[in-house]
């Protein structure tokens, strides 16, 4: 029996946590809510959800003293999953409001180029750019549910796992080492979305250190 993955869902007042918490629990994860640095302790993955503006979100993370602890833990090898705004916060500067963000990934956040309508709300397709375990079992063109106007532009094109088109094209799924970012809402993307979350938990489980060998 594998132990459930310990997920800390960061609560910084940016949107409700109900859906993501429920989805992870349904998948058997051990979910706790973290509002303080101390509550990140013991988490195998830090999950940052969120909807809204980046500057306000960074302000709340700073006031709760979470910015440094999150950056330090992720640099030290803790998994990070960002959803929607939580993905955007990984980058450097947001052109939405000039916010200086976590800077764990190189690149900025910009409005969706050439968008026929904003916000981009609804189901749209993931066009797979490279194979990644998070997409195991999912076909190219799988639909996912989006609610946003801004998108990350990773400096390193190799970070882009999937793209989506809404007028222009943008990175909708980003992965670098132990960092995963969904621009869409897997917790609202039906069976396919849950599959991606399950794949994510599987990746984290497979990455656990092997049990210490008993030496004679």
């Amino acid at each position: 029996m594998t132990e459930p993955i310990r997920v800390a869902v960061v609560d910084y007042g940016a949107g409700n946590l109900v859906s993501i918490r429920n989805a992870l629990r349904q998948l058997g994860a051990d979910v706790s809510v973290a509002e303080t640095p101390g509550q990140l302790k013991g988490a195998e993955v830090i999950l940052v959800p969120g909807v809204g503006a980046s500057e306000a979100a960074m302000g709340r993370l700073r006031r709760q003293g979470l910015v440094e602890p999150i950056v330090e833990r992720v640099r030290a090898g803790t998994w990070f999953v960002g959803i929607c705004l939580g993905l955007q916060l990984l980058f450097e500067t947001s052109h939405e409001d000039g916010a200086q963000m976590l800077g764990l990934l190189d690149g900025d956040v910009e409005v969706i180029p050439g968008a026929p309508s904003l916000p981009h709300i609804g189901w749209n397709r993931l066009e797979i750019q490279q194979q990644h375990p998070v997409l195991e079992g999912l076909a190219d063109g799988t639909p996912a549910y989006f609610v946003h106007s801004y998108v990350p532009v990773p400096a390193d094109p190799a970070a882009v796992v999937a793209e989506t088109e809404h007028g222009g094209r943008f990175a909708s799924l980003v992965a670098v080492d132990r960092i995963l970012g969904f621009q869409f809402h897997p917790e609202r993307s039906g069976r396919d979305g849950l599959r991606m979350l399950q794949n994510t938990l599987g990746l984290i489980a497979a990455d656990r250190p092997a049990p210490a060998e008993v030496t004679a």
């Binding site: 409700n16 109900v18 859906s19 429920n22 989805a23 349904q26 909807v51 809204g52 309508s117 916000p119 981009h120 709300i121 609804g122 189901w123 749209n124 397709r125 639909p143 549910y145 609610v147 088109e165 809404h166 917790e187 609202r188 993307s189 039906g190 069976r191 396919d192 979305g193 849950l194």
Partner: protein
């Protein structure tokens, strides 16, 4: 490119789904979360609850339903009916709804849409408009409220413009003339509204066949279609409707499912 959505609407009264819903093997045919889950499994792109409870003390029951639904349904959830204030909207969103539709309350308080959009973001504020054709005047519709019983004197097209300017992120447009008839959507109304606004428009009122859904999207340029009775009575299943739409060249999400 955004896919066209198919949305079943469940009328909820005093915590129970009303209007006949038929699934042969359901243990409880009136339980909103159970029905919502069933629809999500059948490929619904979003679930809409419309609370028609008259008594204000029924609010707690609705929040409980939203919470129980959000814990087992993993597609977006919209809730309408009885939301009178930003505080009401906050409660429904915190219970796990993704969007909240306002109708009568927005007519009574023209600042409601603006204050809710500012506080929660345009993406979760849906303006629900019940429009009735003005007799003898082609191309004119009047806003009616209280389930179509009360005329307001407002021109529906101007009202929608105003609500979108105030920050409504989506329009749920119901033709009261077609509602419940299963004779097809009011395509002319849809076409006029979709030409004017940049936010998504959900067609409602009159769905009878998959061909009606296709017409709403291809001729009326609707972004989504909402229906109640044809799904509840199992006249057409959601996945069958979507398969027909796909065959007609409408981009939809196939093989979706909940979990």
């Amino acid at each position: 490119m955004l896919l066209k959505r198919v949305i079943p609407c469940l009328d909820v009264k005093d915590g129970r789904v009303v209007k006949g819903v038929r699934f042969v093997d359901l243990t409880d045919e009136g339980d909103p979360p159970e029905l919502a889950k069933r629809y999500a499994e059948a490929g619904a792109d979003e679930i809409c609850f419309l609370d028609i409870t008259a008594a204000p003390e029924g609010r707690g029951t609705l929040l409980d339903i939203v919470e129980r639904t959000a814990s087992q349904v993993f597609v977006p959830l919209s809730v309408g009916g009885g939301v009178r204030s930003a505080q009401d909207m906050r409660d429904v969103l915190r219970a796990g709804a993704d969007k909240v539709a306002v109708n009568t309350a927005a007519v009574d308080d023209p600042d409601l849409v603006k204050s809710c959009a500012r506080r929660f973001g345009n993406q979760c504020v849906v303006i629900s408009v019940d429009a009735r054709a003005v007799p003898g005047q082609t191309g004119r519709w009047e806003v009616v409220v209280q389930g179509g019983r009360k005329p307001t004197g407002l021109d529906a097209i101007e009202w929608i413009d105003r609500c979108v300017e105030n920050g409504a992120g989506e329009v749920l447009l119901t033709s009261i003339d077609r509602d419940g008839t299963q004779e097809g959507f009011d395509i002319e109304l849809l076409r006029i509204v979709t030409e004017r606004v940049r936010v998504p428009v959900i067609a409602s009122g009159g769905a009878g066949t998959p061909a009606d859904m296709i017409a709403a999207v291809t001729e009326g340029n609707a972004d989504a279609v909402l229906a109640a009775s044809i799904f509840h009575r199992d006249i057409h299943s959601i996945d069958a409707v979507k398969a027909d739409m796909a065959a007609a060249g409408v981009p939809v999400r196939l093989g979706g499912g909940n979990a």
